[in-house]
């Protein structure tokens, strides 16, 4: 009781003060009127002083009319549970939450819901947003009434796999409103899948280099036993194959790690110039080895996007590394960044001047394990996962990759980021 009074007292004074300020003209004029009346009737101003004191006391004690309650007071009021606003509460929930009326129209969607499922206009039917057959049955069951609580698993497969446990409950008695709460279960599901995928991919992709190494060992112990020239050549090939296997495992692991990461809109502001510049410095030695110079063409002012710095670093590392690897015959690689003319996108282009990529391969470059067969005799350097990783990261950033290439003139890989905010 004591505590409650204490917390109420300053409240009372500030609100009274506000009321005094608001009615200052009325108060001032009434004080002046009292004074003149008092003086006119020959008083000494004592009556007036009493009147002033009375008015002050009234301002303090008479509660302000509710209609005039300013917004600040309402927020103070929300600290008490009875006056808590439903929307404030829903906004505080970290999981996607929808409130719908009895016919399935969305009345309210909280922030987490619009992040996960895109902005939802109020009045849109739930059945249009969540179209999966079992969700339709589920919504129909919920709307029909009955006891509840209701629950169902909901999975979205494209563009990124996400799984939710959805629960629906009727709110209060007779409000005619329902609340649907989505709990993200993607992580558990993705870990399961990752394990299966990893084993399948690793065993499939490692078999080829392993078989070739086994073959060379056999030859080295047999027919090529006393041929030093062949031995040297074979050992070189075997070394290439083992380093490829190591890279393959690295790439598979980093792809798996990315897939397990929970889906969340990145909120960190990253300056693309810094990222691309950093990648260039990191790759400088390797670029020199393959005889390529990386040129930067960056705007003078920061070029910011919302993103995860490390993931973006990996994107440009993979793209620049590819450009140096496959476009080394061009001697240079240009990384340029700019704002789109209409300001809606941030664009980074990595351009090489190598042999180019045959047209029919371009649409499929981001496919896992897809490799362009450049021709017989050229060893396969890539793991076939670099661009798959790039694409995965870009999808998480709501960005896209476009590839242009002309035979004999080189290729350009362009990343389009949405403008921040």
């Amino acid at each position: 009781m004591n505590i409650r009074l204490k917390s109420l007292l300053p409240d009372l004074f500030t609100s009274a003060g506000k009321r005094l300020v608001r009615h200052r003209f009325v108060l001032a004029s009434s004080v002046i009127a009292c004074l003149t009346l008092d003086l006119a009737y020959g008083g000494r101003g004592i009556g007036a002083a009493i009147a002033v004191a009375f008015i002050m006391a009234a301002a303090l004690l008479v509660p302000g009319r509710t209609a005039e309650k300013p917004r600040e007071e309402r927020r103070d009021g929300a600290t008490r549970i009875e006056t808590l606003l439903a929307t404030d509460l829903a906004e505080a929930v970290q999981d996607p939450l929808f409130v719908s009326n009895a016919s399935g129209d969305i009345v309210y969607a909280n922030e987490a819901a619009s992040v996960a499922f895109g902005t939802v206009a109020p009045g849109m039917p739930l059945q249009l947003k969540f179209r999966a057959p079992e969700m339709h049955d589920f919504i129909a069951r919920v709307m029909e009434g009955g006891a509840g609580p209701f629950g169902i698993d909901y999975v979205e497969r494209v563009p990124l796999e996400r799984a939710y446990r959805v629960s629906a409950t009727r709110i209060g008695d007779g409000s005619g409103l329902f609340v649907l709460l989505f709990r993200d279960q993607s992580e558990a599901r993705r870990i399961d899948r990752m394990r299966a995928d990893f084993i399948a991919n690793a065993s499939h992709e490692l078999r080829t280099p392993l078989a070739s190494i086994a073959g060379f060992i056999e030859t080295l112990r047999g027919p090529a036993r006393d041929d030093p020239k062949a031995r040297e050549a074979f050992l070189q090939i075997m070394q290439d194959q083992t380093s490829r296997m190591a890279r393959l495992i690295d790439d598979l692991l980093s792809l798996s790690r990315l897939e397990v990461k929970p889906y969340g809109k990145p909120s960190e502001r990253v300056d693309l110039r810094m990222v691309v510049g950093g990648v260039r410095d990191a790759l400088a030695a390797r670029a020199k080895d393959s005889g390529v110079e990386i040129e930067l063409d960056m705007p003078p002012e920061p070029l910011e996007v919302l993103g995860h710095r490390d993931e973006l670093f990996q994107v440009f590392e993979n793209l620049l590394e590819n450009a140096c690897k496959y476009g080394s015959s061009g001697g240079r690689v240009v990384a340029s960044a700019r704002k789109a003319a209409d300001g809606s996108e941030r664009i980074v282009t990595i351009r090489d001047f190598g042999p180019g990529i045959p047209e029919e391969h371009i649409p499929r470059l981001t496919e896992r394990f897809y490799r362009v067969e450049i021709g017989a005799g050229r060893p396969q350097k890539g793991t076939g996962l670099g661009l798959a990783i790039v694409k995965h990261i870009l999808t998480r950033h709501d960005a896209r990759l476009s590839i242009r290439s002309k035979m004999g003139e080189g290729s350009s890989f362009t990343v389009h980021f949405p403008a921040p905010d």
Binding site: Q127, R131, H136, V158, E360, R368, A376
Partner: protein, 242 residues
């Protein structure tokens, strides 16, 4: 749908139509997804389920058609309401076709899995179907929110699908030339890829209908046909590259 009609029941009828479309869309998305995963994992039971599901879409399309005609006769709608109803008829037609194409993929599952094919043949197909499914989802989301903003991107994606189909076509052709025993499966796979590419086209049709419902105008006409596979010929095997 934001403004209300004086007749509340008219609103409810329009909403009923839209929700039916939502249901059909969900079914079509699911069928395509399941048909392709039945193909990739070689699961004939799942394929049979997809084939059975198609009846639902056929029935829903008829229902929506009848309902729409009744509404037009009864309410004599104009402008946006009329577009909404005619749009529902069109979209249900496209979705029904998408279901048919999904069913056709499912029907080929048995023939393809009889002789087990290497994984690499299916990778391209499943990423092609991911593209088409993403497109379908975006279009139906645009229908749900009645927004024409992102519909331009849908068309870009359709080009992507076409280019990918052409590339896949080439690849399958190569496999057939490598080993004639691949011909049966690869021919079926080419049809499957073509079906998915057609699904992308139907999704683009839906996008155009949604655009018309929302804006009242037709989508700007540039619609390049990127399917180059009619130009692809098998390379003449002059040099045998070893």
């Amino acid at each position: 749908m934001q403004s209300q009609h004086i007749m509340r029941s008219f609103d409810e009828e329009l909403r009923f139509l839209a929700n039916q479309i939502g249901g059909m869309g969900g079914y079509a998305e699911r069928m395509v997804d399941e048909a392709v995963s039945a193909l990739v994992t070689g699961d004939p039971a799942l394929a049979r389920k997809v084939i059975a599901d198609d009846a639902f879409l056929d029935q829903k399309e008829r229902e929506i058609g009848e309902k729409a005609v009744i509404i037009i006769a009864k309410r004599q709608p104009m402008a946006r309401d009329l577009r909404e109803i005619v749009g529902a008829i069109r979209i249900s037609g496209d979705l029904e076709r998408i279901g048919d194409l999904g069913k056709n993929i499912a029907k080929r599952v048995v023939a393809i899995t009889e002789t087990r094919q290497p994984v690499r043949l299916f990778r391209g197909l499943s990423s092609l179907s991911d593209l088409a499914l993403t497109q379908l989802k975006e279009v139906l989301d645009a229908y749900a929110s009645r927004s024409a903003e992102k519909l331009g991107l849908v068309r870009d994606r359709d080009e992507e699908i076409d280019a990918m189909y052409t590339s896949l076509f080439r690849e399958l052709l190569t496999y057939m030339m490598e080993d004639p025993r691949n011909i049966t499966a690869c021919t079926h796979l080419i049809f499957c890829a073509k079906n998915i590419e057609r699904i992308g086209d139907h999704a683009t049709n839906v996008a155009e209908t949604v655009y018309h419902i929302v804006t009242g105008t037709t989508m700007p006409p540039e619609r390049p046909k990127e399917d180059q596979s009619h130009k692809v010929v098998a390379p003449v095997p002059t040099e045998t590259s070893e």
